[in-house]
Symmetry: D2
Subunit: 290 residues, 4 copies
């Protein structure tokens, strides 16, 4: 098959290389600054000639950061999403990470079949694993004490909480996890972790050395931050704006980090492989290709 791969970071460059190594023809666009294997040809312009015979066009994760523009930190210049879709023929397939209304409207106008691979559980699972590894890497770097015997609170029992809790426990940390509903509380407990109620954290927060937030809403408010011990480390893994009152944390002199896009930084090879699998599955299940 022919793949046209656009923009993105290190992860997207690895994806191009992996597709090539699977035997496909791969064309790269908008990644002038990337290291690519010789067999992946980089096109300096986005032309219909180079794009329109591709079996699948792959946009990065996230596909867009600035509204209307392709996310392409390694490109020599800016490109609009419209440029990409404009070079495609009606009926062609595009796969993108995190699509939005604008992108979907544009795709519809151009009669492009647009699929969001960031909705595929097989990608989200591996992403959670890679994010957990990155978060642990950060914890190891940022703390002077061992993770062993440290008291850690994970806020939220979603994919990330599931990946983090057993890994931290294997380090000998004392892991608590907070959630809201009784079912999650029961599963946290069933997994061997101490459950806390996210709505009733008051007077419980002073005991932790490390807090890891995974909840995408303001859960570590100024009032709650005031309870933390001064030496506590707070890491927020929830996408912007996150779940920590960073302003208040700064005033309190707390050490905080908003750590995003960890898979692309800590494990780009694995993150790329997960995108590749998701794209293959989309092609097979949803389009009959692949």
């Amino acid at each position: 098959m022919i793949f046209a791969v656009f923009g993105g970071d290190k992860r997207q460059a690895r994806l191009a290389a992996q597709l090539k190594s699977d035997g496909h023809t791969v064309r790269a666009f908008a990644m002038e600054g990337a290291e690519l294997p010789a067999e992946v040809i980089h096109f300096s312009e986005i032309t219909r000639g180079a794009v329109s015979d591709a079996d699948c066009v792959i946009l990065p994760l996230p596909a867009s950061v600035k509204r209307g523009y392709l996310n392409a930190p390694m490109a020599a210049e800016d490109h609009c999403i419209g440029e990409v879709f404009g070079a495609m023929l009606p009926g062609q397939i595009a796969c993108a990470g995190i699509t939005n209304d604008y992108m979907r409207s544009l795709a519809e106008l151009q009669c492009v079949q647009l699929f969001d691979y960031y909705t595929r559980e097989e990608l989200l699972a591996i992403n959670a694993v890679a994010t957990a590894e990155g978060a642990i890497g950060i914890l190891l770097q940022e703390t002077d004490a061992a993770l062993w015997q440290s008291r850690i609170l994970i806020l939220g029992w979603g994919r990330l909480g599931h990946a983090l809790a057993p890994r931290l426990q294997a380090f000998g940390a004392r892991v608590s996890v907070s959630a809201r509903n009784p079912g999650d509380i029961a599963w946290i407990s069933a997994g061997g972790f101490e459950p806390l109620d996210t709505r009733r954290l008051e007077s419980r927060l002073g005991g932790f050395d490390i807090l890891i937030n995974t909840i995408p809403s303001l859960v570590l408010t100024a009032d709650r931050l005031r309870e933390l011990r001064p030496s506590a480390l707070v890491i927020d893994l929830a996408s912007k704006p996150g779940g920590v009152d960073f302003e208040a944390a700064k005033e309190l002199g707390l050490k905080t980090m908003h750590a995003l896009s960890l898979p692309g930084i800590w494990a780009p090879e694995t993150a790329a492989a997960a995108i590749k699998e998701a794209v293959y599955n989309i092609l097979e299940e949803d389009t009959g290709k692949g």
Copy 2:
């Protein structure tokens, strides 16, 4: 509060004792054969006088086995569900494990508020843990080899699979788990287990010493059973009729077991506590009591 506890097995008797020990008034019905603490009064008849002032009537898990009848293996005689509901006043609350259409119609007719505690995730989680413990107890008893280094296939990545896989792995078993969709496959893999596709088990089954089915549909067909090594042990944990062609297994001389209601047998105390918690949560969330 006043609880009226009906029928059931060892688990229901423990539930009565635990409610008592929490400071409630507890009346027991249809469990003549049970061991009960002295403070739990057993009523030999189901009368409106003994039932109608209860804050909550608790039917067992499952509430009914034979259509229309209360599940009450320790009772001196048979009782209809109608007898229980008939002794209640309009608006009274009943909690039951696994309700059906018949039961719900009856409750509606009698204006009884009927809640099914077996839909509560906090109960289902603990039930999965207790079932996993029972299943491991059976495996330890039924095999002459250690679980250590045995090759085990768990069919299905639901609650039970989640509870079984890490426990078996801690024994040093080589754990494979089968599932259908790519998301489950990814999470199985993310958990450190070998994933298999339930639809493509052919020619993969000959390598396992132990197979544990958790899928409630015929997955271990005669054709698949023929692939097993003669010494393999097959345990079916899915509710009746289960997922194993037991007829075919018998002809093939395979050792099989259909193991049901394990929590009530292997951990009645914990199973009762989980029902209690679920009932308390129902009373608090859904009725404002508790």
Copy 3:
């Protein structure tokens, strides 16, 4: 090679079958009541003709229970160790599990090369694993509550403690381990378990649901047993006389068990394979055979 296998329980019978299945000639003695494969010939008498050309004579584990006699619970009649050694030629090799002075003197007199396979770490390790599995099987059977969230104290950080602690923790139990020296205390803690000092258990014992002793000296004295909660379960895995004051426990109404020879009962196949490996290693390392 030719093996002559004597006495023992189920484990020794499995050992005979496994040696056969490895391609050796196997002769069995003093196990009239055992199930043996057809190719293993059972000799009704211990004669020099049947024994003297064996490359290795294997006595059971333990080799002797009653002083001077072969441990042979499945034999039709009693046999002396002297009978076995007497049928051997000078220089012949015998492997036995747990030898004593008497046995070693006898071997020296008969010029038999006697090796104790129960000193081989590769056997002791697997034995610890199989014992841990048996102990967990007993715990699952004997308790009405789940192991999950139960508070368990393991007395002793030897091979058995090492095998038990992580397995019980995977069940979600809260595992404490007691030891005497600071190094063991540190490793218990490094493994993620709560360490206790065996010499300072006073006023710490009331919190446990289950106590598992692995120390072969009187550690659970009457005074200490008095601290236990009435519902506590005490399992002693240390060889006779064990480490529990059973007399005192009985008076206190505590539930206790002295559980011995668990590998032969719960995992005879694996236990036999471990003996086989140890014997092969002895033959290779110590005698140049194998």
Copy 4:
């Protein structure tokens, strides 16, 4: 008590602070560049007046790097070990990490009681844990793929192997461990890891993504390194000269690292606490103080 703390890195400075925070009087020497709490007084000269009333003199880990000299990377100038012992009175106690013949002779001449805390198992255990954390931190940084599903070989089943293997397995890595004797092989296997024979690694090494050496002798020879895949990462944790032919590795273009003193870099707080505990135990057990 009065402690006189000499030289060392970040770890030694933390030790001074921790001793202070336990209520002791702490004097620091030869660490001009260290951050110390205000209550710890730093002495610019090593005089008998400042040293001779100390209950315990603590030298760093390692006590000496250049023969005869104190290991004091944060000091303004060089100091001889003789200077330290020379300021002590006969009978005074010194604790040092890794002593050598020279140091012991000197101590004897000065009638100083010298104890080596690096022989204490409680310190070695925590050191292994902290080293494992550091090694995992390095792996997370240095690899573009996730640890999850990576194939890792740990060479050696000593303290470090024991700490590394379960932590890496919790990441979902496929962990093999090599050892020489059958007992270690059995325990590796009992722990759920794949065992390899260190003497027979030939033709087995090509399958690994990561190799971690913990054996202090040349085990990864040029011949063996030639078997590795070009992308393999080799980390040597054994003290100098280590167990890897670094020269040959360089020629082969392999990525290697000799990673030493990880606890002081990755977890100085925990490493200091472990030294403190070891010193307290020496004072209590060996000198009757403490």
